[in-house]
């Protein structure tokens, strides 16, 4: 047992910051500038508005802002509480059917919130499925779901996997030495978990929580179906009612300010710690914890979470499907849309992972103002409603890049801006667990920095890169507003199909693409998990 020093102290003493190579800075700056482009667009628009200040200061705007932040805080806490145990059980314990639970615990991410919102209402609405089950017991109406409770429930159910995915990666890579030392010094398993494991998970938990918080700021589908008056909804109302993007831009800038606040909070929580072993030696996989009799409550817990977050939406889609077939509704042709979805999301995932590497390497290996600023800038796009990002690119491309307007590459760039933070968070958390000494050894053996990155660092963090890619893939697949505005004309995706059918009330026609989306997602997750194990 060669390393016993607590990771934080060891890391601080080892802190040194070599100057980053220019190409790394260049790549990082490019990614950050893309992320800031929508904000530039908003500033241009808002600058032309005369009522900007009165809109910002209106009582109602302030009230909506407060409620939205409360929602984000609630959803984030709930997601951490649900996600961390789920991640631990599926990586460290002998929970029966771990693989299944792993896939099922991440799958809710692919449920588009405009489908999930319907599902939550259908299941738990005042006269939903749950109420009809309870009808024999004299329950004629369930307590009010609409508003805050419903929105918090729906958003938590469909965003807690951000925490699962990020934390499970950290658990898999974590050096078990610290936990073993703690146990050998007489601490029990629970105390070890809370005093040794959880602190080491902090970067992963904050990375996941950050995504959940920003996602709940930006979501439109769930909040609108559950009638919660959130800030994003206010932005949409402004767009729809006045066909005038300037006031919407002012509101969106306020959302950007909230994002900045969330990022600051995250920076404080994140701390400056590093999480790799400081001495010599390599870590090995952690031992599996035998749950014993605890397996039953553990299984019940997983079943409950998965039941709510996976079975409810799939059940709702299945009900549409069956009702539609019963009414003689033919299945609609979705082969093209499936291929388009896989193509666009797959390329977006690849791009986002590549783009996350310079940003994360700078943030972890070359700390400083520049790296921190670049990293934060990439998050700008994630908390903005998709329509804002979409219109920003419409504005720029239709005017200045007509040859690129409404092409797949431009759509991919917009996806990149929307989803790169998902990859940055995980890549960064993975890098934190890699000791720079390994890279230094490669350097002393004469390899240039780019070769070290390619041949040493990236292979080590491959599971993290895969997880980040999977995350982007799943969320890009359900992306709607930017796709509608920017996709090449006639380029249908599954998400567009689902929306197009549900918006007209053709729920049966939405069922086949919705089921396909879930299946493609499950397949891709299965593939990623297999890669992880084959290492």
């Amino acid at each position: 047992m060669e390393t016993v020093a607590p990771p934080t102290a060891a890391a601080r003493s080892a802190s040194r910051t070599p100057a980053p190579p220019a190409w790394l800075i260049g790549a990082g700056v490019l990614v950050a500038l893309l992320g800031l482009l929508p904000i530039g667009y908003l500033l241009v628009l808002a600058g032309s508005s005369e009522d900007a200040l009165s809109l910002v200061l209106r009582d109602r705007t302030v009230g909506v802002l407060g409620r939205t932040l409360l929602l984000a805080a609630t959803v984030t806490s709930a997601s951490v509480l649900i996600g961390v145990p789920m991640a631990w059980l599926t990586t460290r314990s002998d929970l029966p059917g771990r693989r299944w639970w792993t896939i099922l615990g991440i799958l809710p991410l692919v449920v588009p919130s405009y489908v999930g919102g319907y599902a939550v209402v259908a299941a738990f609405g005042p006269r939903g499925a749950l109420q009809s089950l309870l009808e024999p017991f004299g329950v004629t109406r369930l307590p009010e779901l609409y508003g805050f409770p419903g929105a918090a429930l729906a958003l938590t159910l469909f965003s807690f996997p951000y925490v699962v995915l990020s934390v499970r990666g950290a658990l898999l890579r974590m050096d078990p030495a610290y936990e073993e030392v703690s146990r050998s010094l007489g601490r029990g398993p629970w105390r070890t978990f809370f005093t040794v494991t959880v602190p080491q998970l902090r970067p992963a938990i904050t990375a996941g929580a950050l995504l959940v918080a920003l996602y709940s700021l930006a979501d439109f589908g769930a909040v609108s179906l559950l009638q919660f008056d959130s800030f994003t909804r206010a932005i949409y109302v402004q767009y729809r009612a006045s066909f005038d993007p300037t006031l919407a831009a002012v509101l969106a800038l306020m959302l950007v300010a909230c994002t900045a606040g969330v990022l600051l909070a995250e920076a404080r929580l994140r701390g400056r710690a590093r999480y790799h072993r400081s001495g010599a030696g390599a870590s090995r996989p952690a031992a599996t914890v035998h749950l014993g009799a605890w397996r039953w409550p553990a299984l019940a817990y997983c079943a409950m979470v998965v039941g709510l977050a996976v079975a409810v939406p799939i059940g709702t889609i299945g009900y549409w499907f069956i009702r539609g077939i019963g009414a003689g509704e033919p299945l609609t042709l979705v082969l093209d849309a499936t291929l388009n979805s896989v193509l666009a999301s797959g390329l977006a995932a690849l791009l986002a992972v590549l783009a996350s590497i310079p940003v994360a390497v700078l943030a972890v290996r070359h700390r400083g103002m520049l790296a921190a600023t670049l990293e934060r800038a990439t998050y700008a796009g994630f908390a903005l409603p998709g329509i804002v990002i979409g219109l920003a690119f419409v504005f720029v491309a239709a005017r200045y890049l007509p040859w690129m307007y409404q092409t797949l590459p431009l759509l991919l760039v917009a996806y990149l801006v929307r989803f790169v933070p998902e990859a940055v968070g995980i890549t960064r958390a993975s890098l934190l667990q890699v000791s720079p000494r390994i890279e230094e050894v490669a350097r002393t053996l004469g390899r240039p920095p780019s070769a070290v990155l390619r041949e040493v660092t990236l292979p080590i963090i491959r599971p993290g890169l895969m997880a980040g890619g999977a995350l982007v893939f799943l969320t890009a697949m359900k992306e709607l507003p930017t796709t509608i505005l920017l996709a090449p004309t006639g380029f249908d995706t599954l998400a567009v199909r689902i929306w197009s059918a549900t918006s007209e009330g053709f729920f049966a026609r939405a069922a086949a693409p919705a089921l396909l989306m879930v299946i493609v997602a499950a397949l891709s997750l299965g593939f990623v998990l297999r890669q992880e194990r084959d290492r």
């Binding site: 693989r99 299944w100 896939i103 919102g117 209402v121 005042p126 006269r127 939903g128 609409y146 609108s224 009638q227 909804r233 949409y236 109302v237 402004q238 729809r240 009612a241 066909f243 005038d244 993007p245 009702r323 009414a327 509704e329 033919p330 299945l331 609609t332 042709l333 979705v334 082969l335 499936t338 329509i387 219109l391 419409v394 504005f395 239709a398 005017r399 307007y405 509608i484 505005l485 004309t489 006639g490 567009v496 197009s500 059918a501 549900t502 918006s503 053709f506 729920f507 026609r509 086949a512 089921l515 396909l516 299946i519 493609v520 499950a522 397949l523 299965g526 998990l529 297999r530 194990r533």
Partner: protein, 352 residues
Amino acid sequence: MRLRSRVIVTPLTIIALGLAACSTPTASAPANGSADAGASAPPETGTVTIYSGRSEELVGPLLEQFSEATGIEVEARYGDTAEMATLILTEGENSPADVFFAQDAGALGAVAEQGLLTALPNEILDQVDERFRSPTGEWVGVSGRARVVVYNTETLSEADLPDSIFGFTDPEWSGRIGWAPTNGSFQSFVTALREIEGEDRAREWLEGIEANDPSVYEGNNPALDAVIAGEVDVAFINHYYLMQRLVEDPDAPAANYFVTDGDPGALVNVAGAGILDTSENSEAARELVEYLLSTEAQEYFATETKEYPLLEGVEPDGDLPSLEEIGTPEIDLSDLSDLDGTLELLQDVGIL
């Protein structure tokens, strides 16, 4: 473990392939696919780009028929009407669109107001009653959408419903009403209410309904769901939502109630089309708009979307009351683009 993962993946793959490959073409696409379109040697060629605020489910089959009949290729972009209007306004002079097909007159009015639509020829405009087209000729109505009160037939019969929408401000309706104030059709209706009855009466109605503690829904379909589920007894929506739902779910316990006699509750809004001023394919664009008003297309709207056809001589589907019977209030639908005032009123009353 290897084996285990295959057990998971294989059945999923089979289902996925099954779903993707064994599907059949969209409901009402013509039986003779585009394969033999080339054989009939279309007289004209060209391409026209349409931004459609109406979904592909509705418009796609119609556009295919148009391409087949004329040989003109159609590139279509689908989205929400307000999003498509904002898209055109953001693109400005650089818009690749030739035709804008919108779900309500207000969005067409907003785009026309920025000078982005060109005047349509009289032979197109004159096919439609002047109530349902732009007085300055920049857009033309294609199909009509009537506001209705949808009610749950298990708890109510038509005799229980008031003659005017102002009747719903009575406290007896407390807790029984559903509405969708963020919805475009609803906001158009409120705009009409302001135009017809004046600001004060409009405010009175909104405050009266708000005092009855209505349930708020995201759109017409969720509101309809709530009526069918019995969450509320009545909801203010457009007429065709229920008719479409009855196709999927014939036993849904709900019915449409049309208020009549020029009551603002009887507003008939239109989905309509206009041609962009910047269009480089204006000839093909004109043909497309003409096609939307052909007997074939009008019958399609009547049977498929259950809307009112606006071309003389084409009858609405089912037992809908005729447009004359409804007696829609006198209003210039272009004025429905004045949503700013409506938004302000809704926010002022505390509804938005």
